[in-house]
C-alpha cells in the first residue's frame, strides 16, 4: 500500500486498493460528497458491483444478502443515512451477519449547514444502540488502516462495524 503522501494522494485510492485486496465484490451507496472519490473508483472498477440505492436501509439489507450469498460488501453512507438504517440493522444483530460500513460525517466539524447537526450528533449513539461497533478516524493518513482493521472485525469475527470518517478529513459542508 502506498505510503507516499504526495499532493495527488487521496485516501480513497488506498481504500479502493484495500477493497480489491480483501475481495470486496459489492458496494452499495447513496451519492455523497465526502465519499465521492471512493465511490467513483469503485464504479470504475469492473470487478466490483456498485449499486446506487434510493435509501440507505436498502444497502444494509443488500449487505446481509451479499454475505448470505458468499460475497463481501461495503456500505458507503453519509451520517444522515445512518438514521434510516437502525431498524434494518436489527437483522445484523439477530442473525450475527457481518457488516462493513464507511460513514462520512456531517454536523460534526466546522459544519455550516444547521440541518445536518441533529443527525450528525446522533450518528454514533444511534449506531452503538443498534450494536454496531464504531471506529472513528479523523486523520486522512489513518483511514485505510482503520478500514482494514474494521474489515477483519467484520468478516473474520462476524460483527457489524462502522468506520466513521470525520468531517475534518472530508471537509464536506465546511465552506466559508
Amino acid at each position: 500500500m502506498a505510503k507516499n503522501f504526495s499532493k495527488d494522494w487521496h485516501w480513497s485510492q488506498d481504500v479502493h486498493r484495500l477493497f480489491k485486496k480483501i475481495k470486496i465484490k459489492q458496494v452499495a451507496y447513496v451519492p455523497d460528497n465526502g465519499l465521492a472519490k471512493l465511490i467513483d473508483l469503485c464504479i470504475a472498477n469492473s470487478s466490483i458491483r456498485s449499486v446506487v440505492l434510493t435509501s440507505e436501509e436498502e444497502g444494509v439489507a443488500q449487505m446481509a444478502g451479499a454475505w448470505l450469498g458468499g460475497q463481501r460488501g461495503v456500505l458507503l453512507t453519509q451520517s444522515g443515512g445512518v438514521g434510516n438504517c437502525i431498524n434494518m440493522l436489527s437483522m445484523m444483530q439477530e442473525c450475527r451477519i457481518p457488516l462493513l460500513a464507511i460513514v462520512s460525517m456531517r454536523g460534526e466539524w466546522g459544519e455550516t449547514f444547521p440541518w445536518q447537526v441533529p443527525m450528525g450528533q446522533s450518528t454514533i449513539p444511534a449506531l452503538e444502540a443498534a450494536k454496531v461497533i464504531v471506529h472513528q478516524i479523523d486523520i486522512a493518513e489513518g483511514v485505510t488502516e482503520t478500514v482494514s482493521a474494521a474489515a477483519k472485525l467484520a468478516f473474520d469475527s462476524n460483527r457489524a462495524v462502522a468506520v466513521v470518517v470525520s468531517q475534518r478529513i472530508t471537509q464536506s459542508g465546511v465552506r466559508g
Partner: protein, 199 residues
C-alpha cells in the same frame, strides 16, 4: 456504467420553477432538498414556503399533513426525483387518501444535484409517472417541453387533486442562493402564515 447524468431535455429547472410559482396565489409550497430549495427561494422568499432543506424522503408527507389542516388552500410540493424516490412509499398513501388540495411536482434532472450530478434511477428507466398512476394517482402527467408546461400549469393549481407531474429538465444546476436555512425560523414563519399562530 454511465454515472454522470447528461439529459438533453430543453426545459431549464429554475425557469420552470419560477414560471410555476408566478401563478401560486395563496398556495403553500413545500420543497425537497438541494436544488429545489434554491429554485423556489430564488423566485422570492415567501413565508408560505417550507424549505425542507435537510432530509430526504419526507416532502410529500409533510405537504399532506399541511393539506389536511388547510383544506381551503392548495399545497404544492416542488421536489427532485432523488428525494421522491427516497420516500416512494408516500405515493401509495396519497393514492389511497386522495387529498384534493395537494399537487406534487417533480423537477426531474435524472441526477443527484447536491452530490456531483450522479445519475438517479429515473435516468436509467424508472418511470415516476407510471409509479404515481399505479399508486392510484390518476391525474399524473409527464411534461418535457414549454408548450406542455403552459398547458399543465392551470392543473397544478385548479384540478381537484391529488395531482402529480414530472417535469424533465436539463442537468444544468442553477446558482445556489442564500435560501433561509434556519429550520426553526422557517417553520414558525410558515405556521404563522397558515394559522396566525406560531406555536
Amino acid at each position: 456504467m454511465e454515472n454522470k447524468s447528461k439529459t438533453g431535455f430543453m426545459l431549464e429547472r429554475r425557469a420552470v420553477v419560477h414560471r410555476i410559482l408566478r401563478d401560486r396565489g395563496e398556495a403553500a409550497v413545500v420543497t425537497g432538498i438541494g436544488n429545489a430549495v434554491h429554485d423556489v427561494a430564488s423566485a422570492g422568499d415567501n413565508e408560505k414556503n417550507m424549505y425542507l432543506a435537510g432530509v430526504m424522503g419526507g416532502a410529500v408527507m409533510v405537504a399532506f399533513g399541511i393539506a389536511l389542516g388547510q383544506l381551503e388552500r392548495r399545497v404544492l410540493v416542488i421536489t427532485g426525483d432523488g428525494e421522491l424516490l427516497a420516500g416512494i412509499g408516500s405515493l401509495a398513501i396519497i393514492g389511497v387518501e386522495k387529498p384534493k388540495n395537494l399537487s406534487i411536482i417533480v423537477i426531474d434532472n435524472e441526477a443527484y444535484g447536491a452530490t456531483g450530478n450522479q445519475q438517479t434511477h429515473t435516468g436509467r428507466g424508472v418511470d415516476l409517472v407510471g409509479i404515481a398512476k399505479a399508486s392510484g394517482i390518476s391525474n399524473a402527467s409527464l411534461i418535457t417541453n414549454p408548450l406542455e408546461l403552459e398547458k399543465g400549469i392551470p392543473s397544478f393549481f385548479q384540478d381537484p387533486g391529488p395531482y402529480f407531474s414530472v417535469v424533465k429538465v436539463g442537468t444544468k444546476s442553477s446558482p445556489r442562493i442564500n435560501a433561509p436555512k434556519d429550520g426553526t425560523y422557517v417553520s414558525r414563519r410558515f405556521r404563522a402564515a397558515m394559522t396566525g399562530k406560531n406555536f
